[in-house]
Symmetry: D2
Amino acid sequence: MRDEHIESSNGKLGILIPGMGAVGTTLMAGVMAARRGLAPPIGSLSEYGAIEHRGEVRNLRDILPLAKLDDLVFGGWDLFEDNAFEAAAHAGVLSEHHLEELRDELEEIEPMKAVFDPEFVRNLEGTWVKEAGSNWELARAVMDDIDDFIESNDCDRAVGIWCGSTEVFTPLDEVHLSVEAFEEGLRNDHPKISPTMIYAYAHLKKGIPFANAAPNRALDTPALVELAERNGVPTAGKDLKTGQTLMKTIIAPGLAARNLKMDGWYSTNILGNRDGAVLDDPGSFKTKEESKLSVLESILDGDQQPELYGDFDHRVRIDYYKPRGDNKEGWDNIDFSGWMDYPMQLKVNFLCRDSILAAPLVLDLALFGDLAQRSGMSGPQEWLSFYFKSPQVAEGERPVHDLFEQRRMLTDTLGDLAARRPALSDTSEESVREPAAEAS
Amino acid sequence: MRDEHIESSNGKLGILIPGMGAVGTTLMAGVMAARRGLAPPIGSLSEYGAIEHRGEVRNLRDILPLAKLDDLVFGGWDLFEDNAFEAAAHAGVLSEHHLEELRDELEEIEPMKAVFDPEFVRNLEGTWVKEAGSNWELARAVMDDIDDFIESNDCDRAVGIWCGSTEVFTPLDEVHLSVEAFEEGLRNDHPKISPTMIYAYAHLKKGIPFANAAPNRALDTPALVELAERNGVPTAGKDLKTGQTLMKTIIAPGLAARNLKMDGWYSTNILGNRDGAVLDDPGSFKTKEESKLSVLESILDGDQQPELYGDFDHRVRIDYYKPRGDNKEGWDNIDFSGWMDYPMQLKVNFLCRDSILAAPLVLDLALFGDLAQRSGMSGPQEWLSFYFKSPQVAEGERPVHDLFEQRRMLTDTLGDLAARRPALSDTSEESVREPAAEAS
Amino acid sequence: MRDEHIESSNGKLGILIPGMGAVGTTLMAGVMAARRGLAPPIGSLSEYGAIEHRGEVRNLRDILPLAKLDDLVFGGWDLFEDNAFEAAAHAGVLSEHHLEELRDELEEIEPMKAVFDPEFVRNLEGTWVKEAGSNWELARAVMDDIDDFIESNDCDRAVGIWCGSTEVFTPLDEVHLSVEAFEEGLRNDHPKISPTMIYAYAHLKKGIPFANAAPNRALDTPALVELAERNGVPTAGKDLKTGQTLMKTIIAPGLAARNLKMDGWYSTNILGNRDGAVLDDPGSFKTKEESKLSVLESILDGDQQPELYGDFDHRVRIDYYKPRGDNKEGWDNIDFSGWMDYPMQLKVNFLCRDSILAAPLVLDLALFGDLAQRSGMSGPQEWLSFYFKSPQVAEGERPVHDLFEQRRMLTDTLGDLAARRPALSDTSEESVREPAAEAS
Amino acid sequence: MRDEHIESSNGKLGILIPGMGAVGTTLMAGVMAARRGLAPPIGSLSEYGAIEHRGEVRNLRDILPLAKLDDLVFGGWDLFEDNAFEAAAHAGVLSEHHLEELRDELEEIEPMKAVFDPEFVRNLEGTWVKEAGSNWELARAVMDDIDDFIESNDCDRAVGIWCGSTEVFTPLDEVHLSVEAFEEGLRNDHPKISPTMIYAYAHLKKGIPFANAAPNRALDTPALVELAERNGVPTAGKDLKTGQTLMKTIIAPGLAARNLKMDGWYSTNILGNRDGAVLDDPGSFKTKEESKLSVLESILDGDQQPELYGDFDHRVRIDYYKPRGDNKEGWDNIDFSGWMDYPMQLKVNFLCRDSILAAPLVLDLALFGDLAQRSGMSGPQEWLSFYFKSPQVAEGERPVHDLFEQRRMLTDTLGDLAARRPALSDTSEESVREPAAEAS
């Protein structure tokens, strides 16, 4: 990171969301509620985080030029024509009470028609999809959508975040290896180019930071890495770390810190939302499972410590179970051994809410992605690993999964960015709330 | 930490244990078993830990002059005349199989008579106790025991670790405020001087590092801090972090990293060993409860983040429950909220084994305490906070409870110590096992 | 039970509730909602139960003359002036949505002033209490309230059910031994006469069936048993069996059926409502604990099977824990052994809703109490043991705690009552809803 | 049941076990241990059960002529040549301590060569199997084995119990519809005749009661029912009800008794023994799943109570998980609703031991099967439903799954049998332990 200027956060920031489902609409509702003081944006580091800066613990907003909540504008694409209110009501995440309070504002957000390919998401059927001749034309249509959105909303900048469904597992193919091959593939309707890739391509092409909240392969292809770096656009992915995997990357480092031996880790998940229905398709499940399995093998490193981690049984189950609705429940059984190889057990039952855990991460990714771009950073942002089940790293590197290592990477980078700025005479919290005070 | 020479680890190291109960005898048995290849010393950082050193991940034993397992000699004091085999059999921690294998070696370890005062531990009755006129004479008797042990076992050095019962809560008193007042109190049989303090005093007086595995106030009094610093002796305490509290200091930092709001944390523990019986006395329970409650308030800092951590209900229960025996079981219910204040729950059921988790920590404390002394360090060793529920810190400092912060402090210090040594030409694991190779 | 006529259920039935708190108002709201088709009265045997009758499985309502939901009228007494809507809102059991729908109807129910004595419930302070010279006058005032209620609501009959707080444990005293001693005590303000007893006395005196939903000693005194029998009034008690104890009386009979050996049963409860606050007083807790402990000893009978049930550790904890609100959570750990004495464990985590489980039981008790009276039954109704933690039985008898034995007793009695009636030509569900069809 | 004479239990009773694995060898070891007073036969109704008889609660052994433990002789068949000691050691159910104590006696029990067909159990490979030309010859060989066993062990009577693996699901076929078709199929090596059927056939043909501890279709075919009735042999099956399903048939009747509405029941099982490996084959899993799913639908009857039980989501998972070994662990999440449809949750975590729960059931089935035969009963014994996940019933009947209904059926029949006997002058427990006292 070079000691450069960070551009101002003034002006409106568009947040573009392909897949305006449970996560996307919960994000929108929560930002609207926070702006109006109706509900707090809990879970967001950009709103609540604090780091050491010049000898004091300071709130991030006081020391970094993050876009203000008041300056965010939401848009997106979806397979269904429901506006954000209807989609949120359908998702069943938020209370009637909250939905009613925010109804008017949510109803104004209507999805643009989606890029959809049933080959990649088999258990859904889209009714609000672009009809275009080729993938190339679809990508162009998305770029036009972006331009229109920015112009009609008078945005200064934008960021995009894929919040759609898990796609079928796509092995790396020739077509993913370079921008040229990829663009050729777009023109030829190559079957290994998924909708996520088309959205990612369109954003990067327009110079807009893009993050991937799902486990789909997209940004993590040589072609799109190349494009991001060529166009100076930061990217981040993939697969938001929310429920059971979040707990794994908290607990496993703890057991490893104590040099306890792992014998087995059995995880089962029950969930009853659209996600669960999509994951009932084995193709989509494989994509998700890959993402979920890898975290432990990295934290409990059998190469480094074969006696402790060389041989443990790791199972992950995801089951669609209707009564759970959008809530998600995980049950983990962890078998491990201590001194003289005596066995112990730990059971973790997590009654969580998927979209409630995910929404603040999407907000952080949008704000930090925008900050990164204004700070001159491009390509995969490893310091955002904190947010992902499968952090994308530079080629040849191994991802870090330990949540506490990830936190350190994140706060180190934020600290470095804060250090670039001149010491402000007055950065009290109050000042942050008055946009005028920050005008450059 | 100054860049000084670290003295050689050659020669025998005595490990002196006031309170040869479940933890102490499990430690002894495990070291014996590890030496004979019968069972691995899992859970010990000194045996399994690795840190970055000169660009590589290296095992601690390869880069630091730690005492070898083969050089350890065990001794101790107890209220009951049982030798280590009998005490271990009574404790019910180890399998019959392990006990039989190690019987001969364990039987050789016979306790010295204990310093005991029923005012401080009400639910036990000692039958193997020193009868001496005053506390001063008791302290002298312990010092004589130490000298005898060192001489008769041909030890080069020793460390002491209190592994006895939780004493009744003792408020800080005038008598604890200076070495002079303390020694005066010893002579006068001052009622606020507990057996733990007498052992600690005797060790420090003899220049022997001392650690406190129980929550009793002892080393954390100005008098004994002063004595430790005056005599150049490192100390560490207090209350080993093993079961439920260990899990708390793993999980709470994870939730805090994600800026989730804490609503309540309810913890209950069931245990059926002598510890449980002792804690049935409200005086002893208060000491333990203080130690257990403080950890969350520090990690989830309500002063720093009042909106998230300013108001949560934290309850801790410990119940004696006979069927659990030496095993300990914790059940935690954690209520927290995310985005827009939607509530979630996490339940953790930990079927743990107290002494199995504690024994490797005692080994580490012995080896690191000895290392610290040979490295010229004295007084409370904050970098050993990793091991304790109530880490003792320098006056005016706040203890760190987050396990991952504690791990960083620990590995940073070990890394600094390793950096003091000249790069060795050959530090393969084999070389470590040949004492000659390490002669300075 | 003699083969007598059962009187008609026609006309209005008053349900009088001393203690219009969470349980009482949830009952009222649920009956109102069921009448209007807004929510189903799940959990009520009188509404959903079916038994074999003349060779067919028949709904209870089709074969027994139970009072109709449309004919119920609610009234009650409380320490606070809140009407049923306010009290329900304060209790936090029902959703805003349900409260709003039923607001008008609930607001009409205003409590009569309560009989209150802070000696018996120490953690509450009443503000809407009768001021009368003596207990005798208080009892008269309650009888006047009853008369007024019946007259002003045009009731044909009434039943009363204590739904107030747990009182301090009251040992059996001389004053409880006969109607005469009791009435003498009322006049003298004897300190061992509690408010529950005064309400019970007033109801029985007026010939109105009375049930006790709390663990307070009242109906189970010789004095009130005598009065009930003398006045031909059925009674039932005590302490509704809802959460953890319900689960115990389900699971324990299962383990006993399989002749498994019990080693220990540890139960902890967390709850955050007014009940929890009341139980923070040790006097009230003792009353509750007595009620909770006895169930296991009866099902797992150590006299009958000393090898299996002669020696197990049974612990019950109740902890006030604010975040739980009116919901109640239990965690049970059950240690038992099988073949050759090998140990197993069962853990039960029950996230229940106290008032939601209790309300349908109160409805059943009201309807069955009324039925019993119309069928000529009086005194303690053992066949209603199904509903209670501490079933009241005839002197010298042992209560049955096994839920399945209790179910059998209940359905046997209902079957006998149904058998008294002439076979009806048309007892379709429709016919039941037309009162005319049932006119005698 | 006719009021007939019950034949004497004198003489030796052979217990023949096809499949001498974990369950079979645990049974043998436990009976040996009980005979020698080394460990109690907990979990067995025949040993610990008591029922009302002539106005008193009496132990079963005191009022029924059950075979004595001292008169039992064990034999069996297996795919592997291991004797009972080796097989028990391999199974990992019993402690080293118990195995050593019983070693000599167990080693004497050597398996006869098994009938094996890899088409029916795909994940095992047998090495100790009969080589015979046809199924007919295999059946003859089993009959010869039975004759040899009875003769060489001087048995008066015998019973057989299939304790082998779960076979692949076999749909009912023409060949199963009559004895004639079946015998024709044996001669033709019909592919739908499984090893279990061959064993069952051989036993019934020899007039020996047979029970089926596994979910395999065998006794529950018209052919074998016909044969059992024709030869006057009692049978019982199928699939022992031990772990999670046992808990289901305890808890579900409890919730149903309270008329609570079922929304969903999610069950997952982890186990690491040979059973688990066999169930990794989808064919075997289907057989097991069928057996496990049906229990709830019968207890929570959607036809009878569509509002409460007409629509719930029931999922059952079984996962092979190595660290669990022969122990089995179940986790159930139960979603149900009460009053006004408010939801509640119950979680059950069962750390059980499969063979420890199964062995006493096998003992009961052997003793009760023998008793039934001596009492003149034949064909499927519905009163033994208590022991099975899929109780076999007379054609056209629905099985009873509620454990408490099953218990009632069982004790009613035992009571009727006891009532057939003349009142004995002295049936004290002592007398039972002295075989001489019962000699006829």
